[in-house]
């Protein structure tokens, strides 16, 4: 019922979450400063874990040097015109207050669901029909939302036939969502025929996992 069903491993993005804070005037104070000298600035970049606790990897470059961050909460300060400083792990209130309003405004990542169909039809499998309730729950929780509905087929049959079938599938799901109260204007309905299989196969191959509609709630 959970993510296993809804998010294909191939599309499960390793989240890289990074915060950037730009600050000015930190390093002013040059005794013989010429008039109207702009204060030197520095930028701080912190690599953060994503919602699942995983940390990705980023490279910060400046002044012809680069520094790689790959540890949770690892940070680097880059001063104007200089190469990046030594990376350090940010902790405590420095971390909890770092770019806090920006992080608070970060929208939750879109959620994807995959609904499967009976062979050669625009009829949902029983299991996928049951998943529809979860889709509706997420849609309601996240209001306002945009939703994309993308139809697909397996590779049995010719291209034109599958283009039509994938469109009928997408439309069937869209109609079910509209019947449950979703405003049609927030639905972006497209179809890929047999061109974009979840499970790559040769031509004319029955593959239930490719008979699907992907619903993304943003």
């Amino acid at each position: 019922m959970r993510d296993r069903e809804s998010i294909p491993p191939a599309l499960r993005a390793t989240g890289i979450l990074a915060g950037i804070l730009l600050s000015a005037a930190v390093l002013a104070g040059c005794a013989s400063s010429p008039p109207k000298a702009a204060p030197r600035t520095q930028d701080t970049i912190v690599l953060l874990p994503d919602a699942s606790g995983k940390t990705g990897s980023i490279v910060v470059s400046g002044g012809g040097q680069e520094v790689r961050l790959s540890e949770t909460n690892q940070a680097v300060i880059v001063r104007e015109g200089s190469s990046p400083g030594k990376p350090f792990v940010m902790e405590g209130t420095d971390l909890s207050s770092f770019a806090a309003p920006a992080l608070k405004a970060l929208p939750p990542p879109p959620k994807q669901f995959i609904l499967y169909f009976e062979h050669n039809t625009a009829v949902l499998t029983q299991k996928s029909r049951a998943l529809l309730a979860t889709v509706m729950k997420i849609i309601k929780e996240r209001q306002p939302v945009d939703i994309s509905v993308v139809g697909h087929t397996d590779t049995v049959g010719d291209r034109r036939y599958n283009d039509r079938l994938s469109h009928r599938r997408a439309k069937a799901v869209a109609d079910l969502l509209v019947a449950q109260g979703v405003d049609r204007s927030i639905l972006d309905i497209t179809s890929h025929g047999k061109e974009n299989p979840l499970i790559p196969t040769g031509d004319q191959v029955h593959e239930p996992r490719n008979r699907r509609v992907e619903v993304t709630v943003r």
Partner: protein, 153 residues
């Protein structure tokens, strides 16, 4: 008679205009979690930001002293900014079918957070952030190495 002709002309002109606007200006994402004051600069115009507002390549997003906002992009990545901040979306391309990817964001003021999406997954090296002092690139976490091979003469 003249009146109705004029009307038809005006109508078709309007239709044409909205048609080309839609074809040329593909939305790459939209605004979410807006609070306080924020605006979008687009082609020399400044438009107040609104929840759900569609974003285009070239847009510069700016928040006021009480503002913050988030944005969700077509590749499912999210970017947000705190108060007194500004960033510009210099380029964005997400065409998995043609294997074309790109994201270039220039941060000029304040604070920004980014959670990578499919561009970060499928083509991490195509995503880049620039600040006044630094450039930030994304790296995949996978690599391969082979050790202990017999050395060539």
């Amino acid at each position: 008679m003249r009146f109705s002709l004029l009307q038809i002309f005006l109508m078709s002109a309007l239709l044409l205009q909205s048609g080309t606007a839609r074809a040329g200006e593909d939305s790459i994402g939209f605004v979410r979690n807006l609070s306080g004051t924020a605006s979008v600069s687009r082609g020399g115009e400044t438009i107040p930001a609104a929840e759900g507002m569609k974003l285009l390549v070239g847009d510069t997003l700016v928040t006021g002293p009480d503002g913050s906002l988030g944005a969700i992009f077509r590749d499912d990545s999210t970017i947000s900014m705190g108060p007194d901040s500004s960033f510009a979306i210099r380029s964005f391309e997400f065409s998995p079918k043609e294997r074309k990817f790109g994201l270039l964001v220039r941060v000029t003021r304040g604070s920004l957070a980014y959670l990578s999406g499919l561009i970060g997954k499928l083509s991490p090296e195509s995503a880049r952030f620039e600040t006044p002092t630094a450039t930030i690139g994304i790296r995949g976490t996978r690599f391969a190495v082979q050790v202990g091979e017999a050395a060539l003469q």
